[in-house]
Amino acid sequence: MMEFIQQLINGISVGSIYALIALGYTMVYGIIKLINFAHGDVYMLGAFAGLYATLVLKMSFVPALIFSMIVCAILGIFIERLAYRPLRNSPKIVILITAIGVSLLLEYTTMFFLGPQPRAFPKVFKEISYSLLGGKITISNREILIIAVTVILMILLQYIVHNTKIGKAMRAVSYDMQAARLMGINVDTTISITFALGSALAAAAGVLVGIYYNKVFPLMGIMFGLKAFVSAVLGGIGSIPGAMTGGLILGITESLVSGYGSSLYRDPVAFVILIIILLVKPSGLFGKNVREKV
């Protein structure tokens, strides 16, 4: 039982990170029906921005997190403006391939300038492990931090989407882009802001991962990006609570698979889940049925 609780803690920490990244996939898909495969690399750049902020600019954790989120928000807008906006009316496949191209461009440009070696993340605060129930369960202050930051950002995002003018615009654009434009909503700005928000969340995930695993490297976005994508699909792509739930489910499943099965099955299981979801309920757990337009 104690082991089970420990595995849950392990799973929730990783799952929170998946959820943060998954939000970016889900928001962008929700609004322009594009799977932004470069998103995992934005997360990687977020980790490097955080590294730069703490190492060179000597920032403490919160300023570094905010710095990294701002850098990636700008990057997100830039990517959308340069790579996706010129192709907005092109066939879906063109945009999808462009997304993969952008992903590779980001990975290898980073590798070119920073080298492929992993870098150790500086210790931004003292690492403490709390042991509960006579050492049977341990939880580190970083795990608490990951979960706390994720929950705070989630609540913030929910607030932005449901209670602000820009949130209303985002929902309107995702509902019907043409109608929203006719109603006087600036569609381009709205899409830019969606990219900025999603990228900022990915950056936060990047910094948290840097602190949690103490290691950042240019290809770190590939696996985490894919897992976050699976989380988004699992929860229902386009749904914000779905991304959160999907991330947690995936994190916990992985943790239980390696804890009670074999760690070699962890990644296959994640992708088997993806395939099963696509076969059984393609809209995901929280997905809505697409309305037919008459």
């Binding site: 082991e3 420990q6 595995q7 392990n10 799973g11 920490s13 990783v14 340069l82 010129p86 080298g115 492929p116 070696q117 992993p118 150790a120 690492e127 492990s129 042991s131 050492g135 341990t138 580190s140 991962v209 695993y213 103490n214 290691k215 770190m220 696996m223 992985e254 943790s255 239980l256 698979v257 390696s258 804890g259 009670y260 074999s262 760690s263 070699l264 962890r266 990644d267």
Partner: protein, 389 residues
Amino acid sequence: MRKGFVRVVALGLLSFLLLFTSACGNKSESSNAIKIGANLELSGNVATLGQSGLNGIMLAVDEINNAGGVLGKKIEIVKYDNKSDNTEAASVATRLITQDKVVAIIGSCTSGNTLSYVNIAETNKVPVISPSATNPDVTVDPKTGKVREYIFRTCFIDPFQGTAMAKFVLNELKLKKVAVLKDNTAPYSVGLAKFFVEAFKAGGGEILADENYTTQDQDFRSVLTKIKNLKPEFIYVPGYYEQVGQIVKQARELGINVPMGGGDGWDSPKLVEIAGAAALNNTFITNHYSSLMPDPKVQDFVKKYKEKYGSEPDAMAAVGYDTVLVLVDAIKRAGEATPEKIKEALKTTKDVEGVTAKISLDENHNPAKSLVILEYKDGKQTYKAYVNP
């Protein structure tokens, strides 16, 4: 207007790439030199191994060239980065053989990367001499049981390394219950684990768990939680420093305070950076040599290395240095620098005075070398024991 902007950006990127590729393409041709290839991990996930190895190699080459070279010629090292990647290592080997026409190849540092091009070297009849590929399959084809004619090494092999650690745990640490956590994607790690387990069971020990991970993994908490509940007295992690660093760190965070250990794949300054000095306390590794050994040969090497690079030479630097000595000895005895002659001479290598040992190669192209067991204390390696073959 919009299209024009995109075009400008695309053109800019293209010219940028062209500029860089052409800038990297300069090669120096000197006919009066013996060309030796170096196929090393200069970047990627075991980059510090290749970089230290290269430092050791260059130290030896510079010394030999300053002393007049071999057979009246200077040695020229043609080095390429294999990015710690199997496929890349194979293409680097092909390039060295077919384009640069080297007479021999030094490398690679890991067994997996070396194994990826042993067949290429065999087919093209160019000798390869690895400083640190410890897996037995590197020189002996496991399918046929035959020795690979052109492949040599200057390091001990995994059965020796794994067995030495098993005996150390049983006899010195007096521990009987062990968990093994290995990198299932690295032949080095799988090999070491296998020989450790065999020797440990034979010595009366008990293996509680034999778990796996892959090189891409970042999170080991789940599998470590599982291991923790089995209550092992020692955990053997025969991987490379990058994952090992995280495994040790995460294990300590989960409250696993038992001793842990591994092989020469741990030996990197990055290990201390990733795991943290405190987490590494109570860990033991088998290694090729220690810069703390009082042997004057070792101390002389350490002094020269420090003068040139300003840092303490790790084991990879020492075996890199020794590999050049063995190769140059063979070229001298061969009388001419052709792959065929060098191969023949390498086979009869006897008593080459290296830093790590006096090296003689046996019929399987392996040297019989002793190893050292080191313990990490506050992030520093300390000398623990010396094991003879």
